[in-house]
């Protein structure tokens, strides 16, 4: 059981890293990886939202959608759940913890329509994961995304100072770097054989 969860965690965080092997969530990845500070804020918010939305989606999917046999609606539903939850968290944070709200509030809104957030509940549904496994996949994906963001932010902070040829300055060099990291992440494939 525990081994199973560990496998899911490692697989989602490293081997099937959403950014580097599945190429999802790239817009946020390039958008907020310019500075370490924003990258860290985004990572934390992202992981929290990911785990909670995975749990909520699992509950609705298992308890309502499966008995009613309307699984085909899941994409629409999962988007709705994430958006609703994020909006709710936004309002609540503003009241209960304004400091945290001003630190993480802008990221919350960005997350609403992120594809990784949508992919996690969909994968959970496709793989018939139980509740704990769903949470673990959410946590692992969050950790994987955080890892990607932090690696990228630390490289891009250095790139700022590097003498990059003019045509490659800005986004192009960021894409090249991402490609190289993705190649490196291929090295993790085969780490765990199921």
């Amino acid at each position: 059981m525990l081994k199973d969860l560990f496998t899911i965690f490692i697989a989602s965080a490293v081997i099937n890293n959403f950014v580097f092997t599945r190429y999802l969530g790239l817009c946020i990845f390039f958008g907020v990886s310019k500075k370490m500070e924003t990258a860290l804020g985004m990572s934390m918010t992202f992981t929290a939202v990911m785990v909670i939305s995975a749990a909520l989606s699992w509950l609705v999917y298992r308890l309502v959608m499966l008995p009613l046999h309307i699984e085909f609606l899941r994409i629409v539903l999962f988007i709705g759940i994430v958006a609703g939850f994020v909006q709710f968290a936004d309002t609540m944070l503003k009241k209960l913890n304004p400091t945290l709200y001003y630190k993480l509030g802008i990221y919350l809104v960005l997350i609403t329509t992120n594809c990784i957030i949508l992919a996690v509940p969909l994968l959970n549904a496709d793989n018939n994961y139980n509740f704990l496994q769903s949470l673990t996949l959410g946590l692992g994906s969050g950790a994987g995304f955080s890892l990607a963001l932090i690696i990228m932010a630390s490289i891009r902070e250095r790139l700022e100072l590097a003498n990059v040829p003019k045509p490659f300055q800005g986004m192009p060099i960021a894409f090249i770097v991402t490609g190289l990291i993705a190649l490196a992440f291929l090295g993790f494939s085969g780490l765990i054989t199921i």
Binding site: G84, F88, T91, K95, Y102, L161, N163
Partner: protein
Amino acid sequence: MQDALHPDLLNVVLKSLAFMGGIGAVFGLGLAYAAKKFAVKTDPKVQAVRDVLPGANCGACGFAGCQGYAEAVAGDPNLSPGLCAPGKADVAALVAKITGKAAPEVIPMVATVFCRGGECKAGRRFKYEGVKDCRAAILVAGGDKTCIYGCLGYGACEKACPFGAISMGPENLPIIDREKCTACGVCVAACPKGIIHLTPAAGKVHILCSSHDKGPVVKKACEIGCIGCGLCSKGCPEGAISMDNNLAVMDYAKCTHCETCVLLCPQKTIKDMLDPAKEQAERIKLPRKEPQAKAAGGK
């Protein structure tokens, strides 16, 4: 032709409608409840002040961006409404009006670079081949400039300026656009040599050197640096110039722009910015020379 709808299909459609409708209603009601329950009362003054502020988020006021200052100035009755440097007197008056405070007197300031030792006036001690940034260059034996106090010319201030008011000139010295400059002080903090200072915009005669070295040392390092001869200090009819450790320092409150010091200075360190045409003429006279470091980087 098929007769009517398949009963199963109808069933699914109805179930889906009920389900999505139900979920929508739950979320709608939940969010409405949350919005009501967790409503945050915002002071309309905050928004009004925020709209008046320039929105550059430069941090010159000492708060985290314009929003931070708007909240602080609306909430704290003792906080001065004149802390927004980019907004100058106009914004200070508006903020004072919104918050019901007395309008403060704001002296317009402008950033001034206290170094004129460009590439052809002060050379390089060695060839620096590193990250093209002042803060990196200064780590290598205090920078490659012959004058240890002088501008390194790698443009940390240019990159830092949130208003695009600084450009690196032909001599690799920053040229500050005094119209665009809002005196936010970001470049003052960014310069590792500390040679950018905020000066009153009305003060036009500047002693543009930061070197505290003794005369012979300055002469060797830079053609245009202050050698601390004290002629200006002695000659100034207003007593506006004092000598501080081999460097002449201007008291802008006393200066009357008589230009005596400009004529007296043997090094031409003192510059008169009263007449833009004169300044322009002088700039054209300077020979253009690509800095060594840039040429090396382009290879």
